[in-house]
Symmetry: C2
Subunit: 238 residues, 2 copies
DNA sequence: TTGACAACATACTCGGTAGTATGTTCCTCT
DNA sequence: AGAGGAACATACTACCGAGTATGTTGTCAA
């Protein structure tokens, strides 16, 4: 991981034991990954705890040992999804690159993280849906609101970047809120139609990301800076 | 309804007794509307037939008298959602207006229909999700595939229009498939964040539609033709 | 008048599921 | 060594919800 610990406020947001930190508790992490897949494939309420347990070749008791309730498990998966996004995007938002290049890099990173971690991203969408419904208990409702806040602050990251570009390039945006929502809608659209092919995933994902970001940027009246793609080459995990 | 019966292939697609045809069976129509709301608020699997019945101030038996199963009900709602979209959009696709104006009008009409009939549109999104999962029986799977086909043919309507614009205005699209997916993603994004205000819905919706279509068109490198908005003024139901 | 059928309402079955209560195993610390 | 607890597995409860079976009411036709 190239952009490791630069103390960027992520710890405050997600707590000491990051979900990405596999060291402390392997099985908790395994549950999260498996649950994310189940939620993606069947949706929250159509997924039973037993389903997750079975996919893990474990039992219900094991899951309830790590999570208080099904909702709790869902929230944890949601958190991890958001954390993935932040870790991918935030470093680019903090650099001192020109506004347009910054936005483009954020977008590419976001787009690729989205395709790499499909399961978690789909859970995020369900989280919003769950929030619009009524979640049962008061505590759950509070937790959900907190999660939505995290999501909103993520969107704000993009909106700020977009407005910076608009200002610097003297573009008028109409309603900046709608512009940024459209912008993210384009980047997020892969959730609905992309599924990874075996062949050359990384190359394919880069191509798609390039197209999407080009489109999204043109939507706000800016042109894709080609340097935005060069940074992606080094950090391949596994 | 200004663009009534011009025999545009809709009858073949949705059968003789259109879901929009309230004459024959009022209660069936009522069920569809209520079910759409329930599905929107709680999602498919979290909505029970009893929920729908209760919202209708009727009983479970009444619903099962009109629909064989919960899945059947869902499919019917889905169909009606698609029909709403087709009826709103297809007339504009058939005119002999210039390509860009045609696309713009289709987009505005689609966008506004989306905001007016929120409940049904959210069901459409769930339909795609359900399709990606495994639906239980073979018959259901077949029906779902058929519905997805309808949806695809709707998307094709837009893709054709987009490609026509690209050709006529000598725009190069990169991957046309991704471009049209992004295009629709922008138009459809309201599903996730728009909820109607009491005040002046129609004006508000027009404003939003205008912003969205402007963004979407710029994404493919085209400019919003202002005449595209003028047609919307007459046909206000109720 | 009656009988047949549509349009529901009521009452019930039965499988699935969240959550709990209670083992069992193993590891660690003293 | 053994006491205690973490990390599970097993067994059970209680409820909910889809689907069904059967009752009731109105209506229309012969």
């Amino acid at each position: 991981m190239s952009v490791a610990a630069q103390s960027s406020g992520l710890e405050e947001m997600f707590g000491e034991q990051s979900s990405l930190n596999k060291s402390n508790s392997d099985s908790r992490h395994d549950i999260l990954v498996t649950a994310a897949n189940c939620f993606r494939e069947n949706g929250y309420s159509a997924t039973s705890i037993d389903d997750v347990a079975h996919a893990l070749k474990a039992t219900k008791g094991m899951i309830y040992h790590h999570f208080r309730s099904k909702a709790d498990l869902f929230f944890a998966v949601y958190r991890m999804g958001m954390e993935i996004n932040f870790r991918a995007t935030e470093p680019h938002a903090k650099g001192d690159a020109p506004a347009l290049l910054k936005l483009a890099r954020m977008s590419v990173a976001h787009s690729i993280a989205l395709m790499r971690e499909q399961s978690f991203q789909r859970v995020l969408a369900q989280g919003v849906a769950l929030h619009q419904q009524g979640s049962t208990t008061a505590a759950q409702r509070e937790t959900l609101s907190e999660l939505i806040d995290i999501r909103n602050s993520y969107e704000t990251l993009f909106r700020k970047a977009i407005e910076a570009v608009a200002e610097q390039h003297k573009i008028k945006l109409g309603d900046p809120s709608i512009a940024s929502k459209s912008f993210l809608a384009v980047l997020n659209s892969t959730v609905f139609w992309y599924s990874p092919r075996e062949d050359n995933q990384h190359a394919e994902q880069l191509t798609i990301a390039r197209e999407l970001v080009t489109y999204a940027l043109r939507g706000i009246g800016a042109d894709m800076p080609e340097e935005a793609l060069t940074f992606m080459e080094q950090d391949n995990d596994e």
